[in-house]
Structure formats: C-alpha cells, structure tokens
C-alpha cells in the first residue's frame, strides 16, 4: 500500500489556549501556560508550577454538555477532538468508515482520587460513579459516542509517546484501507498520582522548566488534549478546503534500558528518528523543523540531544520544545505537538524554546529562542519519547 494519508483537521486545548487560534496567538506573544496552581486540588499548590487548562470543571461541563461526573481527561479530549472534526468539515462523513484512536495515561483517575479520599475515611462513603470510568478506555468510548464515531474505536497507553502512537496507528489503518477517516491524538488531565509520581522521581522543576538548557532542572506538568483528523486519498478529494499536509513518516523504537529513564546514548530516540526518515524517504537535511520531546529533565534532553547530534551532525535544522509553553502533558503531548507541527507547515512558523539561556555542554547546537514567522517549512519531525524507552517520531510534510 502506498496511498497518501492527509491531515485535514486540527484541534487542541492546553495551558496556553482552548483552541487552535488561541494557541497561535500565545506562541506569537511567547506566553507560557505555567502558573501557580489554581484549579487542581493538590498539596503542591503554591509550590510547583503547572500548566492548567484555564477552564474549570463546571465550565467544561457547560460547554461540552457531558454529564456532571465526567472525568476532566474526557472533557479535554472532547473539546479538542470536536474542534478537529469540525475543522476538517468532511462532507457527508456518514458515508465513510471513521475511527477514533485516542491515547491517555491517567484515565479517569482525577475522579478516582476524589472517590478514595472519601472512601478511605469511611468505607460507606464515596460515590461509585466517580470510579466507574477509571480505566483509560472509558475516556475514548465516551468521546467516540458523543462524536457519533462508530467505525473503529481504540485506546493507546504507552506513557509519554501514547498519542504519537495513536496517530501512527491511525495512519496505518488508513494506509491499509481499513478506515477512510480517523480522529487521532490523545488527552491527559492533571492528577495527584502523576504530579506526586514525577515529584518522587525528583524530575519536577520548582521553577518554569528550561528544556535543552545546560542548567535545566526538570519538567513542569501540564494538561490538555490534541487531535488531528487523518483522511485517505479518496476523502481528501471531497474536502471543501485543501488538507494541511500529509503524514509521511513514523517509527516506534524501544530503548528497554530502565523503567523510566532513556539510555544515555539515546538509542531508542535515534532509531525512532532514523526510522521515520526512512519511512518518509527523506534525509536528515530535508527536515526544516524538529519539535523536540524536550521535557526539561536532565536525562531526556541529554539522551535526545545526543541522538539528534548522532543523526543530524553537522547541519542542524531549527528545533524547539513547545513544552516550555504547555508543560509536559504526558499522554496528550504527542497529539498536541502533532497539531503544532502541522501548524508550523501551514503558517510557516517556528516556535521558540522559552527561557533557553545556556547551551548544553555536550551539544554543538541550541534551540530556537524567539518566535519566527515567514519560514519555508516543508518537513517537520515531531518527537515523543516515553517511560520504558518507548520512542516515537512522526514526520509531517507539505503537500
């Protein structure tokens, strides 16, 4: 099968905006989404900055029309997936086989945490409806129902590469003729479990994160959701507006080095980037922008940087970590950053890597510091690397 897979719609919500337009404007203003915690109920309030979506539970319920007990993970997913599907505006979508491939890592844990606080204090207390949708697949099912997608529904959970793998999987489903349209990406909301877990691993920065900086101290958590609508050749011809671009390359490679850390030489990341280039039939020098995984942890940035050096040396394309804006949105990050990668091609823009000051000692390159527009961008690589060494790279290409 050699048919082309097009990107026809985009939807995103994160700490820097509730839709695509708000994101573009935050990027141009170089305004980060991290701040003191206001909505999220945690003992770290006032101590650790996070990038919260600036809509409360009640506001999300009112906008979405979903039931009161709906997990924030589901609500964020619905917001972005709906925007993507509306954006694609596929005429007569009912006549196509449409799928929803959505990733997340926390599931309905935000609600489960509320349940257990009450339940542990008194075993007769706690509302069971708050744990009913605990598992990751529930998020996807609820949103698929609400979007009336029935062709194929699947959930992927591979840590921080989850939603890049959803897009990867969706592209293959279309390429192999199993679907005509797929809404693919992922979602994650802030939970006590993830913030406390990352804090236990001692990789959370108490200040705003500084990806790829010599003096980086860790990540900031974020939340959000990001989806792209992938369509086949056949569907692309029916669209009323031209598709944004194609997805030309993808690869997943596994480091298998440590439960959470990447290998120091970034073997998994190197193989993922190299494999995606091969799939796309491109050379490293064809890439015009890399949206780095760039979490801001000493381990990730050093491993990813080493892998980039190994593959791209001596000529480096512009690159940046947009986690300096959105924080690390875990299972949503691959989807959110796929949207940013597509927008980079569409608008000829390159996002800055905020707060970058000092080049890493071991690297001969540094990320882009300020917002650039009017760029010629044909091929963008987007990296998403997860715990356990689960590494995925995607490549988007102008049509």
């Amino acid at each position: 099968m050699s048919s082309t897979v097009y990107i026809a719609g985009l939807g995103v919500i994160s700490g820097i905006g509730n839709n695509v337009a708000e994101h573009l404007s935050s990027f141009a203003r170089e305004e980060a989404g991290m701040a003191d915690i206001t909505l999220f109920n945690t003992i770290h309030k006032g101590q650790l900055p996070v990038a919260e979506v600036k809509l409360s539970h009640d506001e999300l319920i009112a906008i979405s029309g979903l039931p009161e007990q709906t997990s924030r993970t589901t609500l964020l997913s619905y917001m972005a997936a709906k925007e993507a599907l509306d954006d694609a505006a596929i005429p007569d979508i009912k006549s196509f086989r449409t799928g929803f491939i959505s990733a997340n890592t926390v599931g309905g844990m935000d609600k489960s945490e509320d349940f257990f606080a009450e339940f542990l204090a008194d075993n007769n207390k706690g509302k069971l409806r708050n744990i009913f949708d605990h598992e990751c697949g529930s998020m996807t099912e609820i949103v698929a129902d609400k979007l009336d997608i029935k062709g194929f529904v699947s959930t992927i959970s591979t840590a921080c590469s989850s939603s890049a793998n959803s897009i990867f999987f969706a592209a293959r489903l279309i390429k192999n003729g199993l679907l005509d349209v797929a809404v693919a990406g992922g979602t994650d909301s802030l939970t006590k479990f993830t913030l406390n877990g990352f804090n236990t691993l001692m990789i959370v920065d108490k200040e705003f994160c500084k990806p790829f900086d010599e003096n980086r101290e860790g990540l900031n958590l974020g939340e959000g959701a990001g989806y792209v609508v992938l369509v086949s050749d056949k569907v692309a011809k029916t669209l009323s507006k031209a598709p944004y671009c194609t997805i030309s390359g993808y690869n997943n490679s596994n480091d298998a080095y440590h439960q959470t850390a990447s290998s120091p030489d970034g073997t998994g990341s190197y193989l993922a980037m190299q494999g995606a280039l091969k799939k796309a039939g491109l050379k490293p020098s064809d890439i015009n922008y890399i949206n780095l995984h760039g979490t801001g942890t000493p381990n990730n940035d050093s491993a990813e940087g080493t892998a980039v050096k190994r593959l791209f040396d001596p000529t480096y394309p512009p690159m940046s970590s947009t986690k300096s804006f959105t924080g690390h949105t875990l299972g949503a990050s691959g989807g959110i950053e796929a949207v940013f990668s597509v927008l980079a091609i569409k608008h000829g823009i390159i996002y800055p890597n905020l707060r970058f000051e000092t080049r890493m000692e071991e690297l001969p390159f540094e990320p882009v510091k300020h917002f650039r527009s009017g760029q010629y961008i044909k091929h963008v690589m987007s990296n998403s690397f997860g715990f356990g060494g689960n590494c995925t790279s995607l490549i988007f290409s102008a049509t």
């Binding site: 406390n196 877990g197 236990t200 691993l201 439960q259």
Partner: protein, 203 residues
Amino acid sequence: MNCITSSCIISQGTVLKDGHQLFEKKGIDASAFLLSVYQHFGLNYPKFYKMDNLSKLGWLASEILLKDTFEKENYQSEQVGLILANQNSSLDNDIKYFDTLKYIASPSLFVYTLPNIVMGEICIRNNFKGEHAFYIQDQFDQGFIETQVNYLLDNDILDACICGWVDILQEKYKAVLFLVEKQRGEDAVRFSAEMMNEIFNRA
C-alpha cells in the same frame, strides 16, 4: 507438541532446577537469602543490587532456569516471551516505598512499584522482545497459564515462553518458572496444567 524443557523453583531457602536441589540456606531473611543465591551461582550483573526483592527473585529463577539449558542462538529476540503471575503484585516493595514517604519518597523504590517490572528485568537481561503479560491471581492457576502459553506458541506468536509464578511478601516467597519450547529434547516433558501443578507442589 509444547514441552517443558526446564523448570526452576526458588522457595523458602531452597533452589531446585529440574527437580534437583542445587542450593539450600535456611535461617536467613529473604533479602539475605536472595543475595546468597546470587553469590552461590557466581552471577555477575551489578544491576541485581538495584532491584526490589520481587525482581531479584524472578530474575534469579530465570537465570538458573535458562543456564546450560536454553539455546538462545536458536531463537530471534521477538520469538521469546513471558507469562507470569502472582498473588501479591508488587506489595512487598510498595510497603517499603510507603515507609519512605514519611521522610523523602525514594525514587529507586518507586520505580519498582509495579509487578511487571520483574519481566522487564528478565527481558533486558536476555534481550527478549516477544509478547509478555503479568497476571495477579489468588493462587497459581495452571489451567489459565496453560491456555495463555499454548495460544502464544500454537499461533506462532512465540517459539519459546517462560511462564510461571513469582511471588514475595516480606519473608514468604516462592518462584516457580517453566521454560516452554516447541521442539522436543530427549528429557522434555509435555507442557500441561497437570505437569505444572506437579512441579509447583514439589516445593
């Protein structure tokens, strides 16, 4: 025909391979015993010292299970997998981790607060990349393991599978691993729930 080509039991101070006792040391606690097994068999894998006791137990059992028996060069990495189960998940390490919360939550204990990490340790050591799954059951369910392993082997998803039980909670520990392969060596016994049950209960 799927065959059990090797078995290993580590339980309460004794180590058995294929029914023969290879090592015994009673009257010491679980951590000290696991270290003595590591030393007795002359193993050299510094990462052992970082592992939680569940991983140490499962990893040691896999080392002894495979040693001098498993012909790795006959297999592709993707053709070897694992199906393991236990009763107490990672509770042994979870309790130790929970105790550190009073002071400073320990990152090195935190990364072992999942039962399937033991499989990761075995896979990393041997470069196994096939299907693997970890189940939590009240007791060793031979029929369930038999179904899972036969499915993987009979559908050519795997060519060899390590399966069995790895359970530890404080001072109570038992690992019983089976190497199941398609080809039949002369000593091989037929892989079945009954045979697993018989071997399991020897310990």
